[in-house]
């Protein structure tokens, strides 16, 4: 009745195959591992994932730039200058200047703030709205589930971006409204995910055991089921941030997001298209920023998926 009665399959296999290289012996599990919290184990496995770590570094850099925009920017992003219109990148204007003589580097830096805010805030709102609704549907079942699921299905049947554009157009052009529109469009994914996992959890023995312990239903939902579905939600949320950033850029490109003259990568791309041949830097830098940050969030999401998936457990 101690940890030592765990069968050490590795050790046994070594006995059967004496000519195995020494390394196999060293790698075989010796004793049961000391208590390691799931969070710690996930972190350890995440750090082994090189691309994911790269993605995390890029995300952190962009987050820092967004937070510290006033310090990072070399100039006022909205200050126009008639003497410096569409200048190519130089030591003075790192990313060049735009058609109104504004410093593109500073605008990209301030644009990071709009993009990161739109991405994270809208996804957080989508999580806060979608997960409880999904849990409710999965755990309560019956007509509650039917109603919630049909509404989510209806929302999912409209393409994400089209729904966001429609909602943003309805709410009026503003960054806050774009965020609300993105949050609403992103939430049915979380509703469906949380519902599915709650349904799985409802059939498990440990939920039955929790009921046998006299836990009230809300406690089972929030304290027993929710912690078990956090890992997939975290992965989905990370990937959703990447999508939300693209959505924000698209809405701003169409004039439904950040309003001029406030900088946003999407609106910068829009005005850049008229000068694509004369001043390509106007499109390259905001485009590169979108590309990098979206790629980084996707890499982090993939890394999290591998790190949190219990099936990839190699202890």
């Amino acid at each position: 009745m101690s940890a030592s009665d765990d069968r050490s399959a590795g050790g046994r296999a070594d006995l059967n195959r004496p000519r195995q290289p020494m390394s196999a012996v060293i790698e075989s599990p010796a004793v049961a591992p000391a208590a390691e919290s799931p969070g710690r184990r996930a972190l350890r496995r995440f750090l082994r994932h090189r691309l994911a770590v790269f993605g995390a570094v890029v995300v952190l850099v962009f987050a820092a730039v967004a937070l510290l925009a006033p310090l990072v920017a070399t100039a006022d992003p909205n200050a126009t200058s008639w003497s410096a219109i569409r200048r190519a990148p130089s030591l003075q204007y790192w990313f060049g200047t735009d058609e109104n003589g504004r410093d593109v580097f500073s605008r990209v830096v301030w644009g990071a703030r709009a993009s990161m805010m739109a991405g994270t805030i809208s996804v957080v709102v989508a999580l806060l709205a979608g997960v409880p609704i999904g849990l409710l549907a999965g755990l309560v079942g019956g007509w509650v589930d039917a109603l919630i699921s049909r509404v989510a299905d209806a929302m999912l049947s409209v393409p994400f971006l089209i729904l966001a554009i429609a909602l943003a157009a309805f709410l009026g052009p503003a960054l806050e409204n774009a965020m609300i529109a993105i949050a609403i469009s992103a939430s049915p994914v979380f509703v469906r995910l949380a519902r599915g996992m709650a349904l799985d959890a409802r059939a498990t023995d440990w939920v039955e055991a929790a009921r046998a312990l006299g836990n009230p239903p809300w406690r089972i939902g929030l304290l027993h089921v929710l912690p078990n579905i956090v890992p997939p939600l975290l992965v989905q949320a990370t990937l959703a941030i990447a999508e939300a950033i693209i959505a924000e850029a698209s809405l701003s490109f169409l004039g439904l997001g950040q309003q001029p003259p406030e900088p946003s990568w999407g609106s910068m791309l829009n005005s850049a298209q008229r000068f694509l041949t004369q001043a390509p830097w106007l499109a390259v830098f905001p485009g590169l920023a979108i590309f990098l940050v979206v790629l980084a969030f996707n890499l982090v999401g993939d890394g999290l998926r591998d790190a949190l998936d219990p099936r990839s457990d190699k202890r």
């Binding site: 009745m1 009665d5 039955e208 929790a210 006299g214």
Partner: protein, 328 residues
């Protein structure tokens, strides 16, 4: 005779299915005194587990429950859901068959024992955890302080079942329902867990209902036995009496089917036929179609549970069986 901790009278459980209603439990009456173990024996589908879930109030909403279930004289079926919920895990607790999957994978063993104490005794987290470690020590988990900080996947099956027992007994329940607590464990661990249950029962005076299909377990760990067949209790006696003088033909068959070390080689004895379709049970004695001693009355009329000797009840028209066997 002390006042029973649990009294079940004429319990019936009916499920609505697509093909008509199914009466899984039909007129079951049982009782357990504090500090004693009642074994409920029967094959799969005999209604053992459903009866236990009915006591806990854990049956799905589609189940219709009739009869009386009293815990310390309090009618559980008449309680509002909130009050019943407060009894679960407090006054009565249940241990499930699958220790491997009955613990929440996201929390440590100690946290899960502490949870029971927080729900029912309103203890603060730190106090509950300290008490949980003490509880893990009581179920003889070595190095309990360290084990309390481990997650279910780091514990062996036997260890997990000990944690389940610790959770169940944390609030000193009057009644413990153990639904095949050792079926998923290997034989040596089985014996340890059952011995532990016995010790804890004597220490705390908890009444135990041990649901099993293993007659060996019954002989060693229970004082009283109820044999169930197709949703009914067919025989009730003390364990000693049941093994010495089984009265119901089904019990006789069960005892004959149990493997023995002293027995010869060859096929194990089995009871001919199969369990009846519960959607359409036989009108008389439900065992009649498989019973070697059945007479016309058995097929037509269900036999009541009647006393053949003091404390020994059987539901058989042909009881006492000794006469039948003597005549044959």
């Amino acid at each position: 005779m002390t006042v029973p901790a649990l009294t079940i009278e004429n319990l019936s459980v009916e499920f609505a299915t697509d093909r008509g209603s199914l009466r899984a439990v039909d007129g079951v009456s049982l009782s357990v005194a504090p500090g004693r173990t009642l074994a409920v024996v029967g094959e799969s589908g005999s209604g053992k587990s459903v009866s236990a879930l009915a006591v806990m109030g854990l049956l799905p909403g589609s189940a219709r429950v009739g009869g009386h279930i009293a815990l310390d004289g309090e009618d559980l079926l008449a309680l509002p859901p909130e009050a019943l919920r407060a009894r679960r895990g407090g006054a009565m607790a249940m241990i499930f068959q699958e220790p491997m999957t009955s613990l929440n994978p996201a929390f440590t063993a100690g946290e899960q024992v502490a949870e029971a104490l927080r729900v029912h005794r309103g203890l603060a987290p730190a106090a509950a955890f300290a008490e949980a470690v003490a509880m893990l020590e009581r179920v003889r988990i070595p190095d309990a302080a360290r084990r309390a900080r481990q997650y279910p996947h780091q514990l062996s099956g036997g260890m997990r079942q000990r944690v389940m027992i610790a959770i169940a007994l944390a609030c000193r329940p009057r009644l413990l329902l153990a639904d095949e607590p050792t079926t998923a464990l290997d034989v040596t661990v089985q014996a340890q867990i059952l011995a532990l249950l016995g010790q804890l029962k004597r220490e705390t005076g908890t009444a135990v209902v041990l649901i099993t299909h293993d007659l060996g377990v019954v002989a060693d760990h229970a004082e009283d036995v109820a044999v169930m067949y197709a949703g009914r209790v067919v025989e009730r006696a003390s364990a000693a009496t049941l093994f010495a003088r089984p009265e119901h033909p089904y019990t006789v068959g069960l005892l004959g089917a149990a493997p023995r070390l002293t027995g010869g080689e060859g096929r194990l004895a089995s009871i001919e036929g199969t369990v009846p379709d519960m959607r359409n049970p036989p009108p008389g004695c439900r065992f009649a179609p498989r019973c070697p001693f059945a007479i016309t009355r058995c097929v037509a009329e269900p036999p009541p549970l009647a006393e053949v000797a003091p404390g020994h009840m059987t539901a058989c028209w042909r009881a006492p069986l000794a006469q039948v066997l003597g005549a044959a």
